[in-house]
Every structure is written in C-alpha cells, then in structure tokens.
C-alpha cells in the first residue's frame, strides 16, 4: 500500500479500508528501515505522529475527514512546528525547538495530516545537492552514491523512497523542482505570495516560496489546496479567493499552447536530459497541445542576478542568529564582538558563510548600485521576458536541471558549478512565477529526469492540468527506486 499515491491513500482512509494509525505505522516502519541509509530525516517523532494519527482516525470516524486527513506527511526542517526541533539543517539551530507553528504547518494540522518528521535539507536552504547539512548529506534513493538535489533533498528523497506519501519543501532558486527532477518525484513551487511564508525560516524573502512533493500532480493539487491562501501574518501573501487546484486536472490538452524557450535547449543541456524532455513534449503534442518557440533573452543573466539578490537578502535575514536569544552560542568569548564572531563562525557552515559574505559585500556602501540595484533592474527584465513569452503560450516546458543527479562530492569544491545546477529554475523565482517538475524518464546511469513546467502568475491549475494529463499517459512517476520495494 505504501506505493499508492496520496489521493488513493486518502480514498482508502475515507472508506475505512485502512486507519490512519495503520498507515502511519506502515510509513514509520519504512522510515525506520530505510530512512537512516538515506539520511532523509533530521527528526522523526513516532509518539507525536501516532497521537495525530489517532486524532485523525477519530475525525474520520465522525465522517469529518478532509482529503489529507490521516495522511502521513513530512515537513522540510525550516517550517517551524510547535514543540518540534526546527534546525534548518544548521548547527546554529540544532537544538532550537519552535514555540509556534508556521502557517503551512498549521494548515496541514487543520486538514488532519499526520506529521511524522522533519526532513533534512541544505543548511538554511542554501545548496543544490543537500550536501550542506550539519546533519550530513542526504542520499538519492535511486543511487545512494549520488545527491538527491537540494535544498529540499530530504523531502524529495523521502517521497521518492515512499517513506512518506507527501512532503513539503521550499523553493528559492529551484530547491523543490531540481530535487524532484533528481529523485523522480513531482514537486511544485507555487506563485510567490500564494503560500504564506509565516513560520518558514527565511533564506531570501523575495524569492522563497513553500511548496510540495508528491508522486503525481493530483497529490500536489490536494496539498496546494491545503497550503495556499491568504495569511495576514505575511505582508507578501496575496489576498485572493481560495481556489480548487484539482479543478482542471482532467481537462484535455487540445489547443493548449506549450512554449519552448530556445535558451533552454542549448549545449548546456545534457543530451540524455534533452532526449527525455523532448519525448515528454512529444507526448503533450500527441494529446493535442501545440508547441511554440518562445524566447527568454535575459536567461543567461538569471544565475548571476540570483547570486547577488539571494545572498543580499540572506545576509540580513540571518543576522538574527547571533547567539543572544536562542540558537548556538560559543562556549568562550572575550567580549560582545567575539561572541558574535565565534557563535556565527561555529554555528554556520561554509556555504552559508560564503553567502553572508557575498551578500554583505553587494549591499556595502559603494557597491550597492553596481551590484544590488543593477541586479534588481535585470530581475525586472527577466520577469518581463516571461510576460512576453506568456503572450504566445499557456505554459512553458523545459528541463528542471541540466543533467541527472551527480555523485556526492563531485561539485563540493566548485560553488560556481554547483550554482549552475539551478540554471533552468532560478529565473522562475526571480519572476515570482509558479513552476513544477514531473518525472519524464531516465537518463545517464538510470537516474531520473524531470520535465519542468512553468505557469503564468497564479496559473497553477493549468500547470497541474498539463502535468496530470501527461502522467495519465506515462508511468515514470510510479516507478520505485531499487531499494524502496
């Protein structure tokens, strides 16, 4: 039963074919058996999970179940959950127990989902391989010698290995779509402002957006129904009516215009990935979609712009981790400055420190105009490129990552190579658009490849529609990693 997608599990719970407690025990068992090898979880709490499962069962018994009631889920460990350790994959917060719930956590609780654990991640969501975690790297279920992608690598690996049917993630530059692509899972990053960032520890505030991993598009839509919606505690949350993201799933694709950015299909893209993506596009055409070439002329500037804006915001966002009120504080220090220096040097890993330094630099007097302000200008151009492209198409299709998952350690010493992992995902964040990745085949080494779909602002339903119809005709998303059976 563990291999069933979320919607099917929900149906069995509703029909009382299985109880939430049974289901929760099933997945807790899988976590116990397979979790340690993958290092997908930072915290698992059986007791809390089973208590939540029993509460869900009571609710189901009263006939008050919602689609996610009783479904075991995991949250990326940067969503604050009351009474749970919330580490952000960092030594800085290794012992931080949150006294409050993030909006997303609250919404899942309210829906009756059963939180079984918090997933491993790149420290403060900075990374594309999940090697930057204080709690050790996460391994790819398809090949434990390879990375699962990042920064939401723990959630991706957990869903891929069916340790949970669903998990949350966050996507600041591709941190949901790239690991989804690398692990053969489906992952969605909604439009900026669709999901409240309240209680989601900030990396880069103007780019961060919470999203979800699941087996297929229907599961993602069900999770989005729970997560999305206005929250007055986040000033960037968009106040618009609630929508049902499942509403268009089954719509035929006849007449849907799929844009193919010419800048995505170049020599930067590995041939194996290109082949899978092209085949997926052909499947969409077979179902009646029409492909059009579009252009994103400023695409090449997305990575450099991102690596100015994201570190700038991060350098300020992470200032609160100073050892004064909570978090790691050095054991010995001479004075205040020394306490800051030591606590932060000990508490933050190398990549986080690198980004804080870069961010501090680009915001400094004399450099601000040349870097930060210039990057903001280019960011607007990148957003405008998409606006132009969406005049000619309904969704954009392309790769989610330039190649399949790479071996652990391969790019650790070369941050720039690592940053290029997000070549196809970053511009979506800069523009604030929604994007998702669904499995579309296997490339080199038998590793999964993802098809990225990009939607217009608040075009999630259309994007999910295309993804779902594609998954109706393919079974890539149902394939299990070798060790997962």
């Amino acid at each position: 039963m563990f291999e069933l997608p979320l919607a099917d599990l929900a149906a069995r719970l509703r029909d009382r074919q299985v109880s939430s407690e049974e289901l929760t025990r099933l997945f807790l068992g899988r976590i116990a058996r397979l979790g340690a090898g993958l290092n997908a979880f930072i915290t698992v709490d059986e007791e809390k999970a089973l208590a939540a499962a029993r509460a869900a069962d009571a609710r189901l018994a009263r006939g008050e179940g919602a689609p996610l009631t009783g479904i075991p889920v995991a949250h990326k460990d940067l969503f604050c959950a009351k009474g749970w350790r919330t580490t952000c994959g960092s030594r800085m917060l290794a012992d931080f127990v949150s006294p409050y719930d993030a909006h997303v956590v609250e919404q899942f609780d309210r829906a009756g989902a059963v939180l079984v654990g918090k997933t491993n991640m790149d420290e403060f969501a900075m990374g594309s391989s999940n090697e930057n975690s204080h709690f050790g790297p996460v391994r790819n279920p398809w090949d434990p010698a390879r990375v699962p992608g990042g920064s939401s690598g723990g959630s991706a690996a957990a869903v891929a290995a069916r340790l949970v049917p669903a998990a949350t993630g966050t996507d600041t530059g591709g941190s949901i779509r790239q690991p989804a692509s690398h692990t053969g899972t489906s992952g969605i990053r909604p439009t900026y402002g669709a999901v409240s960032r309240y209680g989601m520890v900030a990396f880069a505030s103007s780019l961060d957006q919470g999203g979800a991993f699941g087996q297929g598009a229907r599961g993602l839509a069900l999770m989005l129904n729970v997560m999305a919606g206005f929250d007055e505690r986040d000033s960037t949350s968009v106040d618009r009516p609630k929508e049902d993201y499942t509403r268009d799933l089954d719509r035929p694709l006849e007449g849907v215009r799929v844009g193919l950015p010419k800048e995505y299909f170049t020599a930067d893209l590995s041939p194996d990935v290109a082949a899978c993506v092209s085949a997926a596009v052909r499947e969409l055409e077979r179902q009646g979609a029409r492909t059009v070439e579009v252009s994103l002329p400023n695409q090449a500037l997305a990575v450099p712009v991102y690596y100015v804006i994201a570190p700038a915001e991060a350098s300020s966002n992470l200032s609160r981790f100073d050892g004064v009120r909570y978090g790691h504080r050095a054991a010995n220090y001479a004075d205040l400055a020394d306490m800051y220096r030591k606590s932060r040097a000990e508490g933050f890993g190398a990549e986080v420190q690198r980004r804080i330094l870069v961010g501090t630099y680009v915001l400094s007097h004399g450099y601000y105009d040349a870097y930060y302000l210039q990057a903001q200008r280019v960011r607007r151009l990148i957003a405008r490129d998409f606006t132009e492209a969406f005049k000619a198409c309904d969704v954009i299709a392309g790769p989610a990552a330039p190649s399949v998952a790479f071996p652990i350690g391969e790019k650790s010493d070369d941050p720039v190579q690592m940053y290029l992992e997000d070549l196809y995902t970053i511009s979506v964040n800069l523009a604030g658009l929604p994007g998702l990745s669904v499995p579309c085949g296997f490339g080199a080494g038998g590793m999964p490849v993802g098809l990225q779909l990009i939607g217009d602002y608040f075009g999630e339903a259309r994007m999910l529609n295309v993804a779902h119809r594609y998954q109706q005709a393919t079974d890539w998303h149902r394939r299990l990693p070798p060790g997962a059976a």
């Binding site: 940067l78 969503f79 604050c80 919330t86 952000c88 917060l93 931080f96 949150s98 006294p99 409050y100 993030a102 960032r197 309240y198 209680g199 989601m200 520890v201 900030a202 880069a204 505030s205 103007s206 007055e232 505690r233 986040d234 000033s235 960037t236 700038a312 915001e313 350098s315 300020s316 992470l318 200032s319 609160r320 981790f321 100073d322 004064v324 009120r325 909570y326 205040l336 800051y340 501090t360 915001l363 400094s364 007097h365 601000y368 930060y372």
Partner: protein, 478 residues
C-alpha cells in the same frame, strides 16, 4: 564667545507614536511592564516570523505630515538598517531610507517676539530597539525587549536654527504639536520624545556649513539648550585655537555639563540599507489622506490667529494659550460659558489658573477648577458681585475644593458692598478715626488717600466696591 561666529543647528527628533500596539507586531506598547513581558515572537525575532505594518502608526505619520504642511508620499518604502547589537533582535532595524512617508513642511517658532519658520526635511516611520541594561547583572548585560518594535516617527529639520534658544523653541513647538494632534504623548522622561542635535559653527556671514557634530542623550529642553551652548563654545574655542572640528557623534553628560565623543565618522557603521523584502511599499491613497485631514483638530497656528482676530488678544497671550491643546480648550470653554469678555477670561486663564496648574504640575484638562467653575467666578467679577482681589481669594478656595464661586461668596459673606449709603457710613467712620491721614491728604500728600482707601477696604473686610469707595472718599474729602 566671539561675535564673529554663527552656530547652525538642525534637530532630529524621535517621537514615539501613541499606538496601542507595536509598529510591526500585535504586542502592547505600554510603558513600564516587567522586562520582556511585552515582546512577542515577532519582537524577539524568532526564526520565521514576519513584520506586518500597523496602520495606526501610518495614520499618525500622516497626521503629523498634514499638520506641518508637508507632502505625504503616495508610496514610501521600508528599508532594513543592518547592524549587530544585542538589543536589536533581528540584526536590523526596519526604517525608511530613500523614500520616507513625509517630506517637507515647517514649524513656526517665536523667539524674542519674532516669528521664524523652521523647515523640515522629512519624517519617516521606524521601529525602536530594545534596551540594554548594564547594571545589576554582575558583569553581564540584561536585555529588555519590551520597547523593541515600538513605533517611532523620526522628524528631521533643516539646519535652520541659529541659536540654542531657537532650537529649544523649535523642540517645544514640535513637542506641543505632536501632543496637540494626538500622535505622541510627549513624555520626555519615558523617552517618548527624544532630540538629537546637529551642531556646527561658521564665521558669521559665511554661506558654507561648518563640520557638524551630532549630540545625543538630550532628554529635556534644558539639556538641549545647555548641550548646544556648550558644543557651540567647544567648537569655536577649538577653531580659534587653530584646530578643526571632526565629524562625530557626541554624548551629552548632564553631570559634567559637557559633550564628549561617542563615535567618530570612521567608526560609523555601513548600515547596508536595502528595501525590506518582507514588506510591500507603503501606499497611501488620497482618500486616506482626506480622512485624516478631516479628523485633524484646528491647529495651534490657526487657533492663535483666530484668538488675535476674533478675541482681540495680544499675539503673546494667544501664543501662550495655544501652547497646549488642553489649555486652549480650557480657555475656549471659559469664554463660551461667560459668553464673551475673552480678554478678561484670558487674564484669568494665564494668571491664576496657570499659576495653579504649574504649582500642581498638571495639564489644564486635569485642573481642579474646571472651566465652568472659573467662568462662574469671572461672571461675578464682571457683574460687580466681587472685586478682583476678592475673586483671587475665591479662586484659591475653589482650587481647595470648597465648591463654586457663588457658594463660597455666600458662605464667606464676600458679596461686594455697592450700596452707596453703606459705603458712606464706612467712609465716615474711617475719616473720623484717621484724622492724621486726612490732615496729610489735605496737606497735599497723595499717598495718604491710598492709605484711606485701604482703611475703607479693611473696615469693609474687602467687600466695598473699590470704585465706589474711591469716589465717595474723594467727595467727602472735598
């Protein structure tokens, strides 16, 4: 101080806005609670929390902007001012930098009878930091975050003031205004209204500005005046001795009566300001501005002009009466109750009443003698029931809680004697008993007449109508 020097002063004032909750969180802003009991998750900057702007703080910024005749920005931007300090929980202060909510405007001041207008550069919204407590922690520092996130409006003047007295007049006018329009309680002891002064000197007549020093820790008007005077002398002496003024921040030491260096320009932080991505730009619609405009009371300048034009008050009296909204309101209530005679009313409000308020250290709205009661007394003076002198005695009795003017007059038998026959009888007695004074008067000593008047008043126990007593005495003495 050499006459060849001119001091140039600009003021930066932090006015704590009188909102019930903080500028970016729902925690209370009440003063004096136990440490860290009024700091919520947002105020202590837990991981993941976000700021949400309190519209009441914006409303107060608009009020101030309109009251000074400034421009309300249709779109202003919150920025992060980044620096590390233990009482700054986020490691940055949310403030406004390039696009403040208010620009321009002016404050009118009166020094030595001359009116001057001090221009304002800007006013911007920001949050306060917490407090570091260095005593009582055995070599450690305590942090109280109750104040963290308290809404402030920083009001920056142009360097338009040319003396410490002008600076004080400006600070007082601004202090009066913020209380007048209800945006700040003005409590300087509790830090609700704080001034920093930028001071420089230059040769009189020079058009270029000298190097300035910023002086902090000025928590009273007296300190503001003394600190500027001291700083002015220090800079002049320094330059006259061949030295140069270094741009720096200086701290006023009230014990020593001097300013001392706090940090130099070189030590100044690079605050790395950038727009706060957690907050959307603040947009203020013309409709909102219109609503706030409609809710503003008559402003002191307009009221002052009206008092002069409609009530015939002197500009100085009008200015004093409009020194606080409570006093002006009191005065207007007395005039309304009396039904005119504004100048007599003003004399009472500025005389006996103000003396009483000063003695009790209360505002006019907390006066033990309410305006209706004072009006009752003024009416008795105007209709001749009591003399002005007796009225002062009655006022004191009213202040002591002995009831209204009429009751006191009756109880104490203070009704003025205006019956000619009765006064004549008293005068006759006085003349008979003071033959020496009568003789002196007739010998041409005018003083003796006043002494006789005094005797008549004494014999009548102050109740004789003084004008009548005068006239009758004069007639009897021939």
């Amino acid at each position: 101080m050499s006459g060849a020097w001119e001091v140039v002063i600009g003021l930066e004032t932090h006015a704590q806005l009188s909102t019930a909750s903080k500028i970016f969180s729902g925690a209370s802003t009440a003063f004096g609670a136990a440490p860290n009991t009024q700091a919520c998750a947002v105020d202590i900057a837990l991981p993941g929390v976000l700021p949400v702007l309190n519209r009441a703080a914006v409303e107060r910024a608009i009020r101030l902007g309109l009251a000074v005749g400034g421009r309300i920005a249709p779109r202003s931007v919150f920025a992060r001012k980044n620096y590390f300090y233990p009482d700054l929980p986020k490691g940055y202060q949310i403030s406004q930098y390039e696009a403040p909510v208010v620009t321009g405007g002016e404050i009118a001041i009166v020094v030595d009878g001359a009116e001057k207008r001090v221009r304002l550069t800007r006013a911007h919204l920001e949050e306060d930091a917490g407090k570091s407590l260095h005593e009582d922690f055995h070599g450690m520092t305590g942090i109280d975050l109750n104040r963290a996130g308290t809404p402030l409006l920083e009001i920056v003047s142009e360097p338009d003031m040319r003396s410490a007295r002008e600076a004080v007049a400006y600070a007082k006018a601004l202090h009066s205004l913020v209380r007048w329009i209800g945006v700040c309680d003005g409590n300087m002891q509790e830090g609700s209204f704080r001034c920093d002064a930028n001071v420089s000197v230059r040769p009189a007549g020079s058009a270029t500005l000298g190097t300035r020093c910023e002086i902090k820790n000025l928590n009273s008007f007296r300190f503001l005046e003394k600190a500027i005077e001291h700083e002015q002398r220090r800079q002049v002496a320094l330059i006259e001795d061949g030295g140069t003024v270094v741009q720096e921040t200086r701290l006023w030491d009230p014990q020593k009566g001097e300013t001392r260096p706090m940090r130099s320009k070189e030590d100044a932080h690079d605050y790395r300001y950038f727009p706060d991505p957690d907050l959307l730009p603040l947009e203020i619609s013309p409709a909102w501005i219109g609503e706030v405009q409609a809710s503003l009371p008559e402003l002191p300048a307009a009221m002052r002009a009206r008092f002069v034009a409609a009530h015939g008050l002197s500009p100085v009296d009008a200015a004093t009466l409009t020194g606080s909204r409570a006093l002006a309101g009191y005065f207007e209530a007395v005039v309304a109750e009396v039904g005119g005679e504004a100048r007599t009313c003003a004399n009472w409000v500025l005389g006996e009443l103000s003396a009483l308020l000063n003695r009790l250290e209360v505002e006019a709205d907390a006066s033990p003698v309410p305006p209706e009661a004072l009006a009752g007394l003024v009416k008795r003076v105007l209709d001749g029931t009591v003399s002005g002198k007796t009225a002062k005695e009655i006022f004191e009795a009213m202040a002591a809680g002995e009831g209204g003017a009429d009751a006191i007059i009756d109880r104490r038998g203070l009704r003025q004697i205006s019956d000619a026959g009765a006064i004549e009888a008293i005068v006759a007695e006085v003349l008979a008993a003071n033959a020496k004074l009568v003789e002196d008067y007739r010998a041409g000593r005018e003083k003796a007449f006043n002494a006789l008047v005094g005797q008549v008043m004494k014999a009548s126990r102050g109740k004789a109508n003084p004008a009548q007593a005068n006239a009758i005495l004069k007639k009897k003495l021939g």
